[in-house]
Amino acid sequence: MAKSTQDIRKRTPEPARAGAEDASATGLLDQESPEEVDSRLDPAQAVKAAQKRRFAELDRSTLKGIYRQMLLVRRFEEKSAEAYSAGKIGGFCHLYIGQEAVAIGAISAIRKDDYVLTSYREHAHAIAKGISPEAVMAELYGKAGGCSHGKGGSMHMFDKEVNFLGGHAIVGGQIPLATGVAFATKYKQTDQVTLCFFGEAAVNQGAFHESLNMAQLWKLPCIYICENNQYGMGTSLERAMSLQDISQKACAYEIASEFVDGMDVLAVREATLRAVGRARKNYLPTLLEVRTYRFMGHSMSDPGNYRTRAEIERHQERDPLKLFSASLKEEGVISESELKQVDTEVRAEVEQAVRFAEESPQPAPEELFTNVYANPIPENE
């Protein structure tokens, strides 16, 4: 059930983990990092058991659809990394590998006409909200067929048709925007909800606190989903945040909040559904702290010298895709051959996305000067 702010007040924050100070002082970590998988999270076996209990409430096609989406964005990101290394993709490229359960689980809980805004680690959210992998890959390639016609790139994907409102590259910048979208839906008295994704580092920005205050003050149907992957670029949560229990920060604004295991796609979905219920019916905001982990660097240019291989491997034991596929298989929802079939299909879909991006033309040179103003005033010549 949803934890109210009252529940959260009772919870004692965890003490800072031993050894965190040592980690802050070193550069390259050559020994085991002090970071443990969070004590509030269940081990892999228990996650699977919980997932299987939830299967009863979901039909097989929904479960398979969720798995397919997760695998699609995993394969998409693997291909993005390849294309980036081959020089096909420029600029920054922040991969989502390891965090798939968050975007896929949460977006599976909303309607097509609901809104999504997120940060610069956004390829998966864009695809999950309904932008085609072709249009996302073409945007990465900087092509005219991209979802932002090549003007946004990896960090600025948009699609008005599916209510995907970016792709924002200043940490926390999307949080006031999403609050405004939620304000507008309440103003127009629709029952649409807005999902706002951001990393845990954004929680230290004023934009987060200012937005949550307004959202509860004015009762706005915005669901704030903090993807806590435990690192803001190369700086660990321990080194950046005085109170690391992020869900507890909702108390300051009397907002309902939950701590969610971000490696369990169905737990994310369920928590989001509860938040959606509050938002749609009563115009109430929610803060979800979703504990996850990124298996890749912050971006493609990250040397990764702030954490150990062992730490990454510990988290990979709770790989959201592996946990979910094992649950599906063990419960007989999907067979081994079906799993292979899905993999073949999504690989083909990603290959098709690459082909589309390769073949899509570059933006026409005159596009440099379009879209600056909606009502342009002719230059005085």
Partner: protein, 327 residues
């Protein structure tokens, strides 16, 4: 037509546009129950209700961003900054979100929003409350920047800004809220953005002035007239996009130009106008372009020092004489 103050003209513009379009709403610090820190929004809460006239917490970044988000999905917010000094806290959302959204979304999401409030110097409010920030905002493609100098311009330009589909920075002047002038009461009265106004015709020299410097320049022109110099005073009204044609045409006629502004000279709007004139009308100039700007210092508190920091009639008169080579 009626004689009203700048404050009342702005109030009329907001009221008429909110009556005209349900999607227009007003938010900012003290705009509702308090009736506006400068009373520009007086009576609007009572008339239009709390859904559309909203007092915000003191949270400029937050409510500026909220406004941009609301504008992305079809509302038309008017966001008041109690003064533009406080917009500095909101610049991430104005510059990174509002100005760039249409471009980086490949033309999909325009942001019809007005950020308005007083800018420039007030009366002895010292450094952090006396700043002319127009050159900051005018620097960014995607923003429009408007600065009225009369009640009529204020009303007509604000109505156009609210109807415009792009983000508009609308900078009023605190010292001018009580300025009176004739204003149309026709609800269809608007003044297009991007069109300069010739406030006074003349043939011997051009004075380009905006906002608070327009009445100062007009007084200087009166004084110069008595000394046998006929000055044309041009108010660009919109800083971006700038109606450079009107300025250049005037310079081609007078061959001499002085640009007066309240802001700091370095990287200011006058520097940009001077450069444009040089590029477009160099051969017509009989003297170097002359700027009269605010002192290049933070605004002091002491009355005598504050007075010395803001351009006055005498300085503009002297500058015109200089470009006219009159001792």
């Amino acid at each position: 037509m009626a004689i009203v103050t700048m404050r009342e003209a702005l109030n009329q513009a907001i009221r008429e546009e909110m009556q005209r379009d349900e999607n227009v709403f007003l938010m900012g610090e003290e705009v509702a129950a308090y009736q506006g820190a400068y009373k520009v929004t007086k009576g609007l809460l009572e008339e239009l209700g709390p859904k559309r006239v909203i007092d915000t917490p003191i949270t400029e970044l937050g409510f500026a961003g909220l406004g941009v988000g609301a504008a992305m999905v079809g509302l038309r917010p008017i966001v008041e900054f109690m003064t533009f000094n406080f917009s500095i806290l909101a610049t991430d959302q104005i510059i990174n979100s509002a100005a760039k959204m249409l471009y980086m979304s490949g033309g999909q999401f325009n942001v019809p929003i007005v950020f308005r409030g007083p800018g420039g110097s007030a009366f002895q409010v010292s450094s952090q409350h006396s700043q002319a920030l127009e050159s900051w905002f005018a620097y960014f493609p995607g923003l429009k920047v408007v600065m009225p100098s009369t009640p009529a311009d204020a009303k007509g330009l604000l109505k156009s800004s609210i109807r415009d589909n792009d983000p508009v920075i609308f900078i009023e002047q605190e010292r001018m809220y009580g300025l009176k002038g004739e204003v149309s009461d026709d609800p269809d009265f608007t003044i297009p953005l991007g069109v300069a106004d010739i406030k006074r015709e003349g043939k011997d020299a051009t004075i380009v002035a905006r906002s608070l410097m327009v009445p100062v320049a007009l007084k200087a022109a009166d004084a110069l007239e008595k000394q046998g110099l006929s000055c044309e005073v041009i108010d660009p009204r919109t800083i971006r996009p700038l109606d450079i044609n009107t300025i250049v045409e005037s310079v081609k006629k007078t061959n001499r130009v002085v640009i007066a502004e309240e802001s700091h000279p370095f990287c200011g709007v006058a520097a940009e106008i001077a450069s444009e004139i040089m590029e477009r009308a160099f051969d017509y100039l009989d003297a170097p372009v002359k700027r009269v700007s605010g002192a290049d210092v933070p605004m002091p508190y002491a009355k005598n020092l504050e007075d010395a920091a803001i351009p006055n009639v005498e300085q503009i008169v002297a500058a015109v004489k200089e470009v006219a080579y009159i001792e």
